[in-house]
Structures are given as C-alpha cells and as structure tokens.
C-alpha cells in the first residue's frame, strides 16, 4: 500500500488523520448534550473538511468553506444559541430511537457496499493540475467554468439568496401574535 516515496507517505498519513478527526468531530456534534459544544464541534468538523479540500486540490472551495461555514453560518448558530439559551437536552432511550439506529445502520451498510465500485477514469481534456496552474489557480478555473457552462445555476443561486433575505425580513420584522383560543 505504501511505497517508499516519503511525500506520498506523509500525504496519506495526513489525509487519514484529518479524515478521522472530521469523523470524530461529527460524532461530537450528535453526542454532546449542550448546544454550544455541538456548535464548537461542528466548527472543528468544518475546519477539518477545509483541510481535506486543500489536500484534494480545491483551494478556492476550502477558503469559501472557512469563510461561509465556519465564519458566517456558525456565528449565526452561536448567536441564536445565545439568544435562546443553550439548555441541556435529556437523552433517554426510546423505541423510535432504536428504530432510527436500525434504519441508519442499514443505510450505512448499503453505502459501504456502494463504496466497492471499481476504479474510475479521468475525463479527457479536463482540468488536471497542469491546466489549473496554466490558467492561474483554482479560483480562476472555477470562474472560467462557472461563467461559461454553469451560468444559469449561478444566476438561480443569486435569486435564491435574494428570496431568502426577503423571507427572513418578513419573518422577523412582522412578528406573529398568537390568536387567542376561543372560549367554549
């Protein structure tokens, strides 16, 4: 499995360690009972994923992951937790919980079976490392593809963000007052 190439050995070990750390952090997200610890574990998971993106030659996506997820989204989560009060959750076993475990273990087995697919071949004339370096980096290559072949999804995503911004203004500004129950 390991050759004598020291660079490849180091890269393998680092990838393995970062991947396992990401898995442990995601376990921490669902096992901690305090929401603040869950949010901190999720930040750790996202930073590990950004490192994995860097290892798989996606520098721009790694930067976006750190800025958008670990920066913006998690700060939003932490503010909401601070606003609502991070109460600890009592976890007791129940029938639904064991059913959920059975369902997910079945799904995990199916996914692991699907992980035994054969090797794949790279696309001819795609963006390999030399082409990306020639174009001028990962961000520039993404921009070239995004504004030529994937223009419509890009515009739709901007429309989605606009709709979400208008939606949360409507949700938070016009506060909902509960209707009184009719007296019988």
């Amino acid at each position: 499995m390991f050759g004598f190439d020291f660079f490849e050995l180091t890269r393998d070990v680092i990838t393995l360690i970062v991947g396992l750390t990401a898995l442990l952090a995601s376990l921490g997200v669902i096992l901690c009972s305090s929401p603040v610890y869950c949010a901190l574990y999720l930040i750790g998971n996202m930073i590990c994923l950004a490192l994995l993106f860097l290892l798989y030659n996606a520098e721009f996506i790694a930067a976006v992951q750190i800025i958008v997820y670990a920066g913006a989204v998690m700060i939003l989560f932490l503010f909401i937790i601070a606003l609502l009060g991070g109460k600890k959750e009592v976890q007791e076993p129940s029938a639904q919980r064991s059913m959920a475990f059975v369902f997910v273990i079945t799904m995990l087995g199916e996914l692991f079976l699907s992980a035994t697919v054969g090797p794949t071949k790279p696309i001819e004339g795609g963006f390999d490392l030399q082409t990306v370096a020639q174009v001028g980096g990962s961000a520039k290559a993404i921009g070239l593809e995004l504004f030529s072949r994937h223009l419509v999804p890009f515009e739709l995503a901007s429309g989605l963000l606009l709709v979400a911004a208008v939606g949360i203004i409507c949700l938070s500004k016009f506060s909902y007052t509960p209707v009184r129950r009719r007296a019988k």
Partner: protein, 116 residues
C-alpha cells in the same frame, strides 16, 4: 471482489486512478452520523447542525471526485450546495426564532399543532 483501500489517488500504469474508497467511506460515515443526529435529537438547532453535516459530507464527495475525474464541475456544484445551505440555515433559524417567541419551548416533540 477485491477491496483495497487507498487513501490518496494513485496514477497507475493503465491511466486508472484508484483511491476513491477513502473519500466514499468518510463521506458515507459522515452522512450517516448526520442522519442519526437528525433522527434522535430533539433540539431543532442540533437537528439543523446535523443537516449541515449531511450537506458537508456530500460536498466532500463532490470535491474528491472532482479531483479524481480532473473536472471542475464537482467544485462548482459544491459552491452551489454551500449557497443553498446558507439560505436554508438563515430561513430555518428565523423560523426557529419565531417558534420560540410564540411558544417559549424548544422541544420538537411538543410542536404538534400548526396554529399558535
């Protein structure tokens, strides 16, 4: 059926890359952990965090295969998934805040009627 796990892709003599099993295994495990978290937790905030875990695992799969296939499409799809996730989180947190304002309760088991 031979099942060898390679951590990182290797270029072999016949131009075939092996090494996507690591990405598939990590991504599948993280997706299943997110599903379990969504199903067993009762705090809506932590349920949202589990949804984020699932979206992130799919992102990792897309990035890994974009690296194997030498194509930029996976990275662009990851970017669009991040946009969708950001919009979803913002709207979901606003909804959770509205529910908390009207009910002063965070347990999803107690939210069982549609009227306030």
């Amino acid at each position: 059926m031979s099942f060898k796990i390679f951590i990182y892709p290797r270029q072999e003599a016949s131009e075939i890359i092996v090494g996507h099993q690591f990405v598939l295994l990590i991504s599948a495990s993280m997706f299943c952990i997110g599903t379990v978290g969504f199903l067993i937790r009762k705090n809506p905030l932590i349920m949202f965090m589990s949804v984020e875990l699932m979206l992130n695992s799919v992102n990792f799969l897309l990035i890994g295969y974009s690296n194997f296939l030498k194509s930029m499409d996976g990275q662009i799809f990851a970017l669009i998934i991040m946009t969708v996730a950001a919009a979803e989180v913002v709207v979901g947190l606003a909804i959770i805040l509205t529910i908390f304002r009207t009910r002063h309760d965070m347990d999803v088991d107690h939210i069982n009627v549609l009227k306030g």
